[in-house]
Every structure is written in structure tokens, then in C-alpha cells.
């Protein structure tokens, strides 16, 4: 294996391997897209200056997540936002539960398969909310239902998807 010789090459290599997972992890913590973009970049720049011994992909990924989490905590403090309790333990547990060892791409692939199993109405509600960005009330109007009915439908659908994904990604 060729040794990585320059900082730029090292950055590119790490980002190639890990940036998607780091970005998705930050989204899981609660970052919107823009903040996840910013912090993901900062994670790798930080790690570039604070390298650790390579104990393998899993350990590196865990270290990157830890860095991401800390940067996010700093951002919350700087913006006077409430710090979520148990951020470290719970976020790691949630990530590990739903992300197989191969990374979050597998999780998304599993989610795609689970989406295919949904009934039309469930899928339509999801499309309106996530693809078209409608609110609950607008979704309800589009589907000629009450907002409460849509909330219930989406809640059940999410739970169904979560269980489906969990089953699929179980080792």
C-alpha cells in the first residue's frame, strides 16, 4: 500500500472513506444540512492536525464521530443552544444500532428496500413531506385527511421503517 505522503492526499483519502458517515452522523445529532457541511469539513481539518494511530477503520470512524460530536457541542455552546443530555452515550448507541459495520450506505440501501414495501398512501405521505417539503397541514390537505390523521400515519410509517431497517441491518 502506498504511503500517504502529503496533507492534501491524506485529507482526500480520509474524506473519501469517511465523510459521508460523518456527515450523516452530524445530521443524526440534529444538524441541518448547512451546519453538517461546515462541521464535517472541520472534523477532517481538525483530525489532520491531530492525527491518531490507525487501529483500523472502525476505530477511525469512532474517533471521527467523537470529534464531530465535540465540534457540535462547541457550536451549541457558542450559539447558546441547549445541550442535549447523554449526547455521547445515546448518539453512539443509536448509530451503532442502525448502522452496520460497512457504514451508513448499507443503512440507506436497507431503507430503500423498506420504502418499497410501504402501501401507496404511506409512500405518498412521505413523498409530500420529504420530497416536496410540505408541512403536516399541507400534506393533510393534499391527501384530504386531517392533520392528526397524517401525523398518526407518518408516525406509524416511521416506526415501521425503523423496525424494517433494523431487521435488515442486524448482523
Amino acid at each position: 500500500m502506498r504511503a500517504v505522503t502529503t496533507r492534501e492526499e491524506q485529507l482526500v483519502e480520509w474524506m473519501r472513506r469517511h465523510q459521508t458517515d460523518v456527515w450523516r452522523f452530524l445530521r443524526m445529532l440534529g444538524c441541518d444540512r448547512a451546519l453538517a457541511d461546515d462541521l464535517t469539513q472541520d472534523v477532517f481539518l481538525y483530525v489532520l492536525d491531530h492525527p491518531v494511530a490507525d487501529f483500523g477503520p472502525a476505530a477511525t470512524a469512532a474517533y471521527l464521530r467523537k470529534t464531530a460530536r465535540n465540534l457540535y457541542l462547541n457550536w451549541l455552546r457558542d450559539h447558546r443552544r441547549e445541550l442535549p443530555l447523554g449526547l455521547e452515550a445515546q448518539s453512539e448507541a443509536a448509530w451503532a444500532e442502525l448502522t452496520p459495520g460497512d457504514g451508513s450506505d448499507q443503512r440507506l440501501a436497507a431503507l430503500r428496500r423498506c420504502l418499497d414495501k410501504l402501501a401507496d398512501r404511506q409512500r405518498r405521505a412521505l413523498d409530500l413531506r420529504y420530497r416536496d417539503g410540505l408541512s403536516d397541514a399541507e400534506t393533510a390537505q393534499a391527501m384530504q385527511a386531517t392533520p392528526d390523521a397524517i401525523k398518526g400515519l407518518l408516525k406509524r410509517t416511521r416506526e415501521q421503517l425503523r423496525q424494517c431497517v433494523q431487521q435488515q441491518v442486524k448482523p
Binding site: 443524526m28 448547512a34 481538525y46 465540534l71 455552546r77 443503512r107
Partner: protein, 738 residues
């Protein structure tokens, strides 16, 4: 499920369904590295420095700039996706979303100025702003006006304009106030009043009876209506100019002083007295025991009616017109049942549905059952009411011919507010059809529409194009059309009006014995049209079989539409066999905010698997309770108690076949419809070959759907696999006759 589980699922769904995956931030990180900016500390303790300010996402910017340059809005450069573009200023609390070609306002108000992009609020669309315009989700209430004007930094004159309710125009959720210049609202130009309007005559105060009488003497137009048993007649217009002058003079002469002791209101008659400057004075004339005569008057700027004493001569002068008004035909608008009964007397309904702005649906409905259902939709129990006059886009125009030869006209706006006219006079204003009625009416119109609403307007087809590579192309402007025709024929292109039309072109490439293509049918789906093409082959004979080399083509001029256009080609090679439709490339991706063109509800009620025997694909239909029992027995659903079905509205369709075990991918979906038929597709991972169906991994699955009772044939198509995982075509497999 904890917060992180929620977030994880939400962000994954956002990625998959929005189509915006995780970004590649490598270039941006490299740029920052090159700039030498230090990353923040990442220890749990408070950072020594704030995280570095995000450097521009140059790649995202470059993409956005490319898109925006194409759209001709270069002023949008260098903005983050959620930052408002130039020309749009948001008031505090406004919520919006910036899309590729417009800004969608979710709540609050914005100020639009020169060069602002399109603003969408619900079904309202504001564009081509020239000047300054305030737009928002509703007309701001009294207390909100000053803070809003402060947030938007309006001038004193603009502030006054915004406070004038007459300056506001609404279209559904959108409310608009053009402060200066003009704007286009749902296709209509709305111009501001002059910045310094000429002084308008002030309404006299109620105490100033001298001025009031003088004003009444200037009335130039009079309409009146009379109520009996709570129902008003239609408005009667006094057309004789001499009578108008006489009545105006009577009001002016006989109006007394404001009543010292006002009596209760009686507006059994209502007069609208129109002045030359457009102001309308409302008046009602009545008596009370012990009072000679009373007249309630309201001028435009008065907050309420004021009561005046008047001479009994006034009522005497009005007697003839009041009697004539009593004889005006009445609509029982306060009695919903009676109104529905009246509407159900329609023998014919002619409609124009302009919901899809590119291609209005037109047609005539004469089916008694459909007309009866329409009566219920046009006058539902949950009808709303609005006092606001709307300048909005009309989506439905409907003319009903009743069984006595009389006629009723509905003009329905995009928010559901409609006007109902009878014998040419407006009888009802301000009523609102609920969304369920609007949707059901649309479905009704779609089924009944003459598909000439979206049809091939002109076509050019033949066997010898200079284009020898098989392809499909969509042309939507003169430049593209000139280039395409030049490529195809090398001559001047035929005239096409691209303001109202587009051209879809199919080239077959280098092949044998083909004269070109024709459109066999057009299907209308929820968000797309599907053109189904037939290729015109011909036979040749000769010592060696003698095929003729061709480069077949067809170009179709179609109405311009916001919907997607798909094409399918019948590749069934066997004569007289059912068509096999092979999808060609889809064109003309729909806007994200297009209204669905059709609505067809398929309710998948039951699903099951297992049991013997494994079976080839079969379809079963039930139209009544007996057939329903039979269907369930046949499929062996195991249901002892069958659910009740409204057989007036639905039929049941069941499909059963052998499929991979544990699959639940067995769906009936709408492919599209036209006047002649509804085409449904059965998506199934079912047996692709005979031997598949016998394999151990396959079991029998079944599903039952309830679909609307057909008023036309229903065709079910099933997928054809040629050793592939995805269907290569759709075969007409089963027909359910109406």
C-alpha cells in the same frame, strides 16, 4: 424511539426522497486547508475560538450559478440555498423555502421589488414585479400593519396604501398589495393606483344630511333585490335612465334626519345606488308601526348602516320596482337540500376545467347519475362562505342546462370561491366549495373531458429522416425547433407557436420497412401524459426478401403543459395480439408544484399468501355481494366475515399468482386514463416463466382492491420480463368491461 433514532430516519428519508444525497466536501476542505484557516478545537471543553466561518461552498455555488444563469436570474449568485434572493425582503417571522425557480412562502409577508423571482403561496403565484409589492399569507390585521410596515421599511405613503383594505387582492392563501408599479398575479396584471392618487370625494358624515341628499341626487345606476321568507331574489337592474333619475331624486328629496330613536333593522329590500365615481351607496327602505318611514343608509367608508327618518312618499315611489324585484326568480340558496334538488334537474353540464393552465379540459356531461352526483358536489353541506372579493384565477366554468330550459352558471376560483349566475344576473357570491368538492369535480371533469384538451395538434411523419440515430427529443422554443428540423430535413421548419405548444419528436434510426409513427392513444395520469405510439410497418417482396432501408420519424405538436410527457411504443410483433407497450424516454419533467391532473383511488384492502395450489396469474371481479362471496371463496382468503362494500361506488378486483415467497410487492397502480378507458398496471415480482411458478421459492399470493365503479372499460396491464429484473414492457392482459 429516541431523538437520535428520529433524526437518523428523518435525515435518511430526506436524502432518499428529496434526491439530495450526502455532499462531497473534499474540494471545499482542500480550499480551506490551502487558505491556512485553523480548524476549531474539538475538545469537550469550551472552544478557545469559535468554529471558523464557513467558507463559500464553491461547488454548490457553481452549480447554482449555472442553473440561475440558464434561468436568466444571475442576481441570485453567491447565495446560500435558504437565503432570500435579491428583490425579496422578508418581514420578521416569515418562513420560506427557496426552490430552483421560485420562492415558496410558507407564512408571513415579504416585500417584492424589481427583479424579484417568482413567489408562490399555495396556489397563488406572483411574478414580473415591477415596482414594490407586499405579498403574504393573508391580509395583515390592524395591529400587525404598523410593525409589518416597520420591518419592511415602507415609506409613509406605502404604509397608508397597505392600510387601505381596498388595495389588497387575494388569491387563495396569497394576499397581495401592489404599492407601486405592477405585478402579475396568477397571470393577471395588477397595477398599483397612482402614487399620488387624485383626491377622492370624501363621504359625508351621517349628520351631514344636506351633503348626503346632494350625493343621493347624483346616483346614476340602481340595482335592487327583495327577500321573501328569507330568500333574496336575483338583483334587478333599473335600466330606464328616467326611472333612475326619478328614484335618485326621491331618495334625495324624502330622506330626513338621522333617527333619534333607531328602530330594528329590516333589510327585506336592498338597494345599491351607484355614483359616477364608482362609489356604491347601500340603502333599505321600510316602515315600523308608528313611524312614517325609515331608511337605512350606508356609505362605503361608514362602518355600519345609519338609520334616517324619511317620508312615506319614498316607499310609494319605489313600489313598482319593488314589485318587479319580487317577481325576479329566486334561488333557494339558504336551503341546501332545495338547491341540490334544483341542480339535480340539470340535463346537461358543459365545462371548462383550467386547473392545468397549459391544457384546459372541456366537455359535456349528460349522464344522469353523474349529473346527480355533481349537484351534491356543487352544493355540499360543508360549503364555506367568504365576504372577501377575490381576484383569483378561475379554474372551473360550468354551464348547467335544467330540464325546463333555464340555465345556471358556475364560475369557480382556484380557492373554491364561486359565483352562481341565473338568467345572466349574479345570484350568489362568496360561497366556497370545499377542497373535497373541488377534487371530486376535477375527477369528474377528467373522466368526461374531450381529450382534444390534450391531443396531437399537428404531426409530421414519414420514412426518410436525415436523423439516423434512434432517439426522442422535446422542443419547446423556436431555436430548438429550427435546429431540429434542419437536422431532420435541411429545410425551413414549419410554423409552431411555442407560447402555446411544444413539439415531441421520435426518430426510429436506421431500420427497414417503416413509414413512421402515429399516436394510438393518449393517457392522462396524475402528473403526466403518456403518448402511446404505433409504428407503421409495410411489407416488401422480392427475390431476396427486399426490405427497404428507412429512417422513420414522427414529430407531434402538442399543447404546452407543465406535466411530464412519457412515450410508449407498441412492440407487439404478433398480429391481432394485445399490445405490448415499451416505455421510451420520458420528457418534460413536471414542476414540483403541479396540481394532480387526475385522481383515481385504488384501495388495496386485502393481501395474503400461501395455500395451494400455486396458480398462474388470474383476475377476478365482483360487482355485488354475491360475486363478492364467490370471489373470496375462489381465492380462499380465509375471511369468514367479509367487509361491506358500497357497490354503487366500487367494484372489487382480485389478482392471484405465484410469486417469490414473502414478497409484498404486489400493487395495482394507475397508468393513466382517457375517455375510453382506464389503464391500470399490476406491479408484481411474480413468476417470469412457467418453471419459476413451480419452483420451491414461489408461493401463491393474492390481493383484492376496491376501485371506482367503472364508467368505461378498465384494462389491466402486467409486466413483461425478458430475462431482466425490470419490466421491458407492459402487456394488456385483462379487460373489465364497464
Amino acid at each position: 424511539m429516541n431523538t437520535f433514532h428520529d433524526n437518523l430516519l428523518d435525515s435518511d428519508l430526506d436524502e432518499i426522497l428529496s434526491g439530495r444525497g450526502a455532499p462531497d466536501l473534499t474540494a471545499r476542505a482542500l480550499q480551506k486547508l490551502a487558505a491556512g484557516t485553523q480548524p476549531p478545537a474539538a475538545e469537550p471543553a469550551r472552544a478557545d475560538a469559535r468554529p471558523a466561518v464557513a467558507t463559500p461552498r464553491w461547488r454548490a455555488w457553481a452549480r447554482a450559478a449555472a442553473v440561475l444563469l440558464v434561468l436568466g436570474m444571475a442576481g441570485w449568485l453567491l447565495t446560500r440555498p435558504d437565503t432570500l434572493p435579491r428583490g425579496v425582503t422578508a418581514a420578521e417571522g416569515a418562513r420560506w423555502r427557496v426552490r430552483a425557480d421560485h420562492v415558496e412562502l410558507k407564512s408571513g409577508w415579504v416585500l417584492l421589488s424589481d427583479g424579484a423571482p417568482v413567489l408562490v403561496v399555495g396556489d397563488g403565484r406572483v411574478e414580473n414585479v415591477n415596482g414594490r409589492t407586499v405579498a403574504g399569507t393573508g391580509i395583515p390585521g390592524g395591529d400587525a400593519l404598523d410593525p409589518l410596515a416597520d420591518h419592511l421599511d415602507l415609506s409613509a405613503l406605502e404604509r397608508e396604501a397597505m392600510k387601505n383594505p381596498n388595495r389588497w387582492i387575494t388569491a387563495g392563501m396569497l394576499a397581495l398589495c401592489v404599492l407601486s408599479g405592477q405585478a402579475v398575479l396568477n397571470g393577471r396584471v395588477i397595477a398599483a393606483e397612482e402614487d399620488t392618487p387624485p383626491p377622492r370625494a370624501q363621504d359625508p358624515k351621517p349628520e351631514d344630511t344636506k351633503s348626503l341628499r346632494a350625493l343621493l341626487g347624483q346616483v346614476e345606476g340602481i340595482e335592487l333585490r327583495v327577500a321573501e321568507k328569507g330568500l333574496y331574489s336575483g338583483w334587478l337592474t333599473v335600466r330606464d335612465a328616467a326611472r333612475v333619475r326619478a328614484i335618485a331624486a326621491a331618495f334625495a328629496t324624502h330622506l330626513g334626519e338621522p333617527s333619534a330613536t333607531p328602530a330594528g333593522i329590516d333589510h327585506t329590500n336592498q338597494f345599491e345606488l351607484r355614483l359616477k365615481d364608482g362609489r356604491v351607496i347601500r340603502a333599505s327602505v321600510f316602515t315600523r308601526p308608528g313611524r312614517a318611514g325609515l331608511c337605512d343608509i350606508r356609505l362605503p367608508s361608514w362602518e355600519r348602516y345609519h338609520q334616517f327618518d324619511c317620508a312615506p312618499d319614498l316607499a310609494a315611489e319605489l313600489k313598482a320596482e319593488l314589485a318587479a324585484a319580487r317577481n325576479q326568480p329566486r334561488l333557494p340558496v339558504q336551503d341546501a337540500k332545495a338547491m341540490r334538488a334544483l341542480l339535480a334537474r340539470a340535463v346537461e353540464a358543459t365545462f371548462v376545467d383550467s386547473t392545468d393552465q397549459g391544457a384546459p379540459l372541456r366537455g359535456t356531461i349528460r349522464d344522469a347519475a353523474v349529473l346527480a352526483r355533481m349537484a351534491g358536489l356543487l352544493w355540499p353541506e360543508d360549503m364555506g362562505f367568504s365576504k372577501t372579493h377575490l381576484a383569483e384565477r378561475d379554474v372551473y366554468q360550468l354551464a348547467l342546462k335544467l330540464n325546463d330550459g333555464s340555465g345556471l352558471g358556475f364560475v369557480v376560483g382556484d380557492s373554491g370561491i364561486f359565483t352562481l349566475t341565473m338568467t345572466g344576473e349574479t345570484s350568489v357570491e362568496g360561497r366556497i366549495l370545499p377542497g373535497t368538492s373541488m377534487q371530486a369535480l376535477r375527477e369528474m371533469f377528467t373522466r368526461a373531458a374531450d381529450t382534444r384538451g390534450f391531443a396531437v395538434l399537428r404531426q409530421w411523419t414519414g420514412e426518410n429522416s436525415r436523423v439516423t440515430r434512434a432517439q426522442t427529443r422535446l422542443v419547446y422554443d423556436d431555436e430548438g425547433w429550427t435546429a431540429l428540423w434542419n437536422e431532420h430535413a435541411g429545410t425551413a421548419a414549419p410554423a409552431v407557436n411555442f407560447e402555446r405548444e411544444i413539439v415531441l419528436a421520435v426518430f426510429g434510426g436506421d431500420k427497414l420497412n417503416s413509414r413512421g409513427y402515429t399516436v394510438r392513444e393518449i393517457l392522462q395520469g396524475e402528473y403526466r401524459y403518456t403518448l402511446r405510439l404505433e409504428e407503421e410497418h409495410f411489407q416488401t417482396a422480392g427475390p431476396d426478401g427486399g426490405g427497404v432501408r428507412c429512417a422513420p420519424f414522427a414529430m407531434f405538436a402538442l399543447p404546452r403543459t407543465e406535466a411530464a410527457i412519457h412515450m410508449e411504443l407498441n412492440v407487439q410483433g404478433i398480429k391481432r395480439a394485445a399490445p405490448l407497450w415499451q416505455p421510451l424516454e420520458a420528457k418534460w419533467k413536471p414542476r414540483s408544484d403541479i396540481n394532480p391532473m387526475v385522481s383515481y383511488t385504488i384501495d388495496g384492502t386485502r393481501f395474503g399468501s400461501g395455500g395451494f395450489p400455486k396458480t398462474k396469474r388470474r383476475f377476478l371481479v365482483a360487482r355485488d355481494a354475491a360475486q363478492w362471496q364467490e370471489l373470496n371463496n375462489d381465492i380462499n382468503t380465509g375471511q369468514d366475515k367479509l367487509p361491506a362494500v358500497d357497490w354503487d361506488q366500487y367494484i372489487a378486483v382480485a389478482a392471484t399468482e405465484a410469486a417469490p415467497a414473502n414478497t409484498d410487492q404486489f400493487e395495482l397502480v394507475l397508468a393513466g386514463m382517457n375517455q375510453a378507458r382506464v389503464v391500470l398496471r399490476l406491479t408484481t415480482p411474480g413468476a417470469q416463466t412457467e418453471s419459476d411458478s413451480e419452483s420451491p421459492g414461489y408461493e401463491r399470493i393474492w390481493r383484492i382492491w376496491l376501485i371506482p365503479k367503472p364508467d368505461r372499460d378498465i384494462v389491466i396491464e402486467t409486466p413483461r420480463y425478458d430475462g431482466t429484473t425490470a419490466p421491458t414492457g407492459w402487456l394488456e392482459t385483462h379487460t373489465i368491461r364497464r
